[in-house]
């Protein structure tokens, strides 16, 4: 049987279908990165300039809770997109558009998990170290 020839702009069309998924996959690590930079930067400047560390710490803890909620929301959406509970397919090896859709949900979910761990690790010093010691 002759191998199927790709149609004109097939890659482009398939990519366009998953554009939103590809964008969503970056969201959780992006929140983690922003949280990291804001926490380290703001605490360093606060301690150097002797601003009110208690207020900054409280603000950053609220910001951390928001970051976790945001990542949680992305992770939940990704979990639904992965749809493993219904399909039972963990690896999505198939080459269909649906498999690609599920796989991108899978990847976004795992990135959300690691982003939660990252945000929690960056937030722990805020909880355990009171000031600028």
């Amino acid at each position: 049987m002759a191998e199927r020839q790709p149609t004109r702009d097939e890659d482009k069309r398939e990519f366009a279908e998953e554009q939103a998924s590809l964008f969503r996959i970056t969201l959780a690590p992006l929140v983690w990165a922003i949280h990291f930079v804001v926490c380290y930067g703001l605490v360093a400047v606060t301690c150097a300039k002797e601003w009110d560390i208690v207020a900054v710490r409280t603000g950053l803890l609220i910001f951390s809770a928001c970051a976790l909620a945001g990542i949680g929301w992305v992770g939940f959406a990704a979990w639904k997109q992965w749809n493993v509970a219904e399909t039972g397919d963990f690896v999505n090896r198939g080459g269909r558009a649906e498999d690609r859709h599920h796989f991108l949900g899978h990847a976004a979910f795992l990135l959300s998990v690691i982003s939660v761990v990252g945000v929690v690790f960056v937030s722990l010093p805020l909880i355990m170290i009171g000031g600028c010691q």
Binding site: F90, V117, V120, F121, L124, P125, M128, I129, G130, Q133
Partner: protein, 338 residues
């Protein structure tokens, strides 16, 4: 000429050939007990030491588990595993276990992190890193002027002392492994570390940041004393130098001034008021000279005066062209400055 090693009587015996590498390493480590983070003499060093041993034990357990799993899967039971079982192993061993272990270590590490930055119980010691020695100022609680010293740090046991650090020209790092962690010293900036020594004794501190030709010879003794003995010592340290008694020492004192030593060194109670080099008011009572370079014995002080540049490359103090008798007199005078 033969240049002596710094030391306070501790020397390593060569290990026997048949003893394994590990045992040799352990015996070498055992020779440096007065400068070992594994021989803690203070609260902060104990935290670091405990952390090290727990992490070492944990690393050994993890190493055994990972390599045991490799061995099991490649030699004992090669072949395909049930997918569900393999998935549990991967998620449990590859995600859950590292997250739990790292979180536990992070929480523990963060719980001890603020200790060396806690304020002291009263006494503050300011230390300035010079090339290559330590300018030391003791500020007891309420003091308006410091008690000046050099190249030796004395601390009361059972109390937390604030050490405020800075540097004159290049970056140094203050470290007494037996008492706590290290802290960098920057020109134009003050950093702080506090130490809570517990066991009286003498420990070795060392500059831990490369700072020039004689970096390796920039050391000091950290002497931990009972609080009562420390107070007595500090009162003596605050006093002027005792005038020399015997003839040789009197000649040495004259020589000290006539050779211009006082332009760089201070000996309180005399005309010597230089600030370029270490304060020598009580140099004879210190355990070492030349910032840990040699023990403060009469012979070693003489050796230092006769071979300064050879003993400490690029040091600012020149080797003076003195006769043997003059060297004896000068050494006698300095050794008598208790």
């Amino acid at each position: 000429m033969a240049v002596k090693n710094f030391g306070q009587g501790t020397r390593c015996r060569p290990s026997r050939r048949h003893i394994g590498t590990l045992v040799s390493l352990l015996s070498v480590a055992g020779c440096g007990l007065h400068q070992s983070a594994l021989n803690p003499a203070g609260r902060d060093a104990t935290s670091i030491s405990t952390l090290f041993w727990v992490m070492l034990a944990g690393a050994v357990v993890l190493w055994l588990l990972v390599n045991g799993a490799f061995f099991y899967m490649s030699r004992v039971r090669p072949g395909q595993f049930d997918q569900r079982y393999a998935r549990h192993i991967l998620i449990g061993g590859g995600i859950v276990l590292p997250v739990v272990v790292l979180t536990t270590l992070l929480v523990w590490g963060l719980s001890i992190l603020p200790d060396p930055r806690r304020p002291g119980d009263g006494l503050v010691v300011r230390i300035t890193g010079e090339q290559w020695w330590w300018r030391v100022e003791y500020w007891p609680e309420g003091a308006e002027d410091p008690i000046l010293s050099a190249n030796e740090l004395r601390l009361p046991a059972g109390e937390r002392t604030e050490i405020r650090l800075t540097s004159a020209r290049v970056i140094h790092s203050f470290w007494v492994p037996a008492l706590g962690g290290k802290m960098d010293m920057f020109p134009g900036r003050e950093t702080m570390i506090s130490l809570a020594p517990e066991k009286p004794g003498s420990y070795r501190g060392q500059c831990a940041e490369f700072c020039g030709a004689s970096h390796a010879w920039m050391a000091f003794s950290a002497v931990v004393m009972d609080p009562g003995a420390f107070d007595t010592w500090l009162a003596a340290e605050a006093a002027d130098a005792t005038p020399p008694q015997d003839e040789a020492a009197v000649r040495g004192a004259d020589l000290f001034l006539s050779e211009g030593c006082g332009a760089c060194h201070t000996i309180r109670g005399t005309d010597a008021a230089g600030l370029v080099g270490p304060d020598l008011t009580h140099v004879g009572s210190r355990q070492t000279i030349g910032a840990g370079r040699l023990p403060a014995t009469l012979d070693d002080i003489r050796l230092w005066l006769d071979h300064t540049e050879a003993l400490k490359p690029e040091v600012k103090m020149p080797t003076y062209d003195l006769s043997p008798t003059e060297l004896d007199d000068l050494a006698q005078y300095l050794e008598g400055l208790k």
